[in-house]
């Protein structure tokens, strides 16, 4: 019995799945209609759909963040700002520099591609600082964390740019005749494609190797710096996708609010997914489950009357608890405490 319990708790996805179940249970007790689905105007409605829908950006970010954490043992805190830059860029291109438009000034794809290009560029800049210049990841990304929103403000000239075109809203809402929100599919697509990329090539293995021991992997011939650079650029690219979704939801570019506080959520998703924030082995599935858990938690907190400004308090406490449980010192101390206890029991 004890051994089996140990086997279960050792399972890599134990922590994220337990947390998800816990949050869902709380929700079901509080709102019995949590799992109910209904069809209105040909689309599915329900709490659970809402959670999965709203978690899409976070899932996309969490995938990028997992790779960054795994390869460099640091985190990218500029993802929220990069989302704002991407949103601002796409709206700037599509509106042709006007504040509010009812038709595209450029084809949609041009806006999307320029947004992704800018976000990837931001990620590459982070990657350059971390991999080439060997600056601690958080200081390197702190630059864009603060300046990114400033850049987004400059792109939109301090105004909220509206794109009042139906097709711009597709990405963050519904495509006609499809019963599920589009962003769900985007999130799934990103997860599947990234997994394919990591599994079918040796990239996943290399990232883990670099994260576990950078020098050793460099000595066996892995281009460690290039791998780290790639993870940051890729994280930027994914932040761009998330930014497009977020901007499509509100069909505008709001430089101050797109992706606000998302960096903490993304880091929390990675930690909750059972990944070690010191780098090395990673598990994207864990992070994805972590992301859905956090969105469920956020929705629960909102339902309990906590405002968006106040939510970070609870998340910060959760982060501290998780990293404390992960910490080697705490494990040692805990093991010691348990060992001292045993003889007394026997």
């Amino acid at each position: 019995m004890k051994n089996e319990w140990k086997k279960i708790t050792r399972f890599r996805l134990f922590l994220p799945i337990m947390c998800l179940i816990l949050v869902l249970l709380v929700n079901v007790i509080k709102t019995p209609s949590f799992f109910f689905l209904s069809v209105r105007n040909g689309v599915l409605y329900g709490y659970i759909i809402d959670v999965i829908n709203r978690a899409s950006e976070l899932v996309v970010l969490a995938v990028g963040m997992t790779l960054v954490v795994a390869a460099s043992g640091g985190t990218d805190i500029s993802v929220g700002s990069m989302m704002a830059v991407a949103g601002a860029m796409s709206c700037y291109v599509l509106s042709g520099g006007q504040v509010s438009v009812n038709g595209y000034a450029a084809p949609w794809i041009a806006g999307a591609l320029s947004a992704l290009a800018v976000a990837t560029l931001c990620g590459a800049w982070n990657g350059f600082l971390v991999a080439r210049m060997r600056i601690q990841p958080m200081v390197a990304t702190l630059i864009l964390f603060t300046a990114g929103r400033g850049i987004a403000q400059l792109v939109t000239r301090g105004q909220i740019t509206y794109i009042r075109v139906d097709s711009y809203k597709y990405l963050g809402n519904f495509i006609p005749h499809v019963p599920l929100p589009t962003s769900i599919f985007v999130a799934i697509l990103v997860v599947v494609l990234t997994n394919l990329l990591l599994r079918k090539t040796s990239l996943g293995l290399y990232i883990q190797a670099v994260g576990i021991n950078k020098d050793a992997s460099r000595l066996v011939g892995i281009k460690a710096n290039k791998i780290i650079f790639f993870t940051y650029a890729f994280c930027g690219f994914l932040a761009g996708i998330a930014g497009l979704i977020a901007s499509s939801r509100i069909y505008s570019a709001d430089a101050n609010n797109i992706g606000l506080n998302m960096e903490l959520d993304a880091i929390l998703a990675v930690a909750l997914g059972g990944n070690d924030l010191a780098g090395g082995k990673f598990n994207i599935t864990g992070s994805v489950i972590g992301a859905y858990t956090i969105q469920a938690l956020t929705t629960t907190l909102y339902a309990m009357g906590v405002t968006a400004d106040q939510v970070p308090v609870y998340k910060a406490i959760v982060v501290v608890i998780i990293v404390t449980l992960q910490s080697e010192e705490f494990k040692k101390w805990f093991a010691k405490a348990m060992a001292q206890k045993k003889p007394v029991e026997a």
Binding site: G74, R134, A316
Partner: protein, 341 residues
């Protein structure tokens, strides 16, 4: 020998910083001559508007010397301003006790962060990132509305002009305008000098440099690394609270969005002032020049009049990027031993 190299690097960086400041200020005097940049008061205003940043940058320098960092300071400033405003306006706490409570909270906040970093060995970034979101969220929990401080005693401290006996000039009407400073500037300077003395002449100060230089060697030397690091964070928490009080004396209000991005300004000030991100090298007077450069950029943007205030943040970020790349290049050229964080 190695230590000497590192020392030379930092004086080199500091020289760049000081000359950059002098050049920028001289440039300002020429470009904005008509608008009164040349007056001594403009120079004093640098200190008046950045008194809190001087104190916070000193705290940041302390933790950066140990090889850590604290990105929670900006949110903490917002929290402390809100606490002061809330206590004095909504709870009728008198000004002295309100300030005392805030300073005590700062010590407590620093202790928790320091404990997590030093005794549980969690990365300082993660701890202070959580601290940053915690403090900002707590600010919103206290009040989502802006609270303006009306407390007479507090406003008295904030508006008590101390005129200087020198540096005055005659205005167009022929009246002597004497330059002035606020008490905040004096508090900031006393703090700066005390921290400098602490770092230079006390055992605690030397220990901070030692563990920043090489944690392993410090351990082998028998220094209590954990406790020293804990104290550094406690002191940093206290200085953040003191900085918060000074910030509040400047703005006399509390609201959620206050001091956003302040952490980067403090880090930038320390880095521009020659403190190495890897720890062990730097001093608080360098950080003072970092603050002055930031203040000069801000003054430029105010004098220029048409640029958005976002340019300040972008310029600071660009300067920070420039200086960390410079540090990195210097660091890579002369590989230092014991570069563990």
């Amino acid at each position: 020998m190695k230590k000497k190299n590192a020392f030379n690097e930092t004086t080199f960086l500091l020289k760049i910083t000081i000359s950059l400041f002098v050049v920028m200020y001289a440039l300002g005097m020429v470009v904005f001559r008509e608008k009164g940049f040349i007056h001594f008061q403009t120079f004093l205003n640098l200190f008046i508007s950045n008194a809190s940043l001087i104190v916070i940058a000193a705290g940041m320098t302390l933790v950066m010397l140990t090889g850590g960092i604290d990105i929670s300071v900006g949110s903490c400033v917002a929290l402390y301003c809100m606490m002061l405003a809330y206590m004095m306006e909504r709870q009728c706490v008198d000004a002295v006790s309100a300030v005392a409570i805030v300073l005590a909270t700062g010590l407590g906040f620093g202790f928790v962060q320091g404990f997590l970093v030093s005794y549980l060995r969690i990365q300082p970034f993660i701890v202070t990132l959580a601290g940053m979101f915690f403090a900002r969220g707590m600010t919103a929990i206290i009040s989502v509305d802006m609270i303006t401080i009306m407390n007479k005693r507090f406003l008295g401290w904030a508006q008590d002009k101390l005129f200087l006996p020198f540096g005055g000039y005659l205005n167009r009407k022929g009246v002597l305008v004497r330059p002035f400073i606020y008490p905040t500037v004096i508090i900031a300077f006393i703090t700066l000098v005390l921290i400098a003395i602490l770092l230079r002449y006390t055992k605690f100060g030397r220990k901070i440099y030692a563990i920043g230089g090489s944690e392993q060697s410090s351990l082998l030397m028998g220094l209590n690394v954990r406790r020293t690091r804990l104290y550094a964070y406690v002191l940093d928490g206290f200085l953040a609270a003191l900085g918060g009080v000074l910030f509040c004396l400047n703005t006399c209000s509390g609201f959620v969005e206050q001091a956003r991005g302040y952490e980067m300004e403090a880090i930038a000030a320390a880095v521009i002032g020659g403190t190495l991100l890897t720890g062990g090298v730097g001093n608080v007077f360098g950080s003072l020049f970092g603050v002055l450069i930031k203040g000069t950029i801000e003054t430029f943007i105010t004098f220029q009049g048409t640029l958005s205030s976002w340019w300040t943040k972008i310029t600071i970020a660009a300067l920070l990027a420039f200086f960390i790349i410079l540090q990195s290049i210097l660091g890579n050229r002369k590989p230092r031993t014991g570069e563990n964080q």
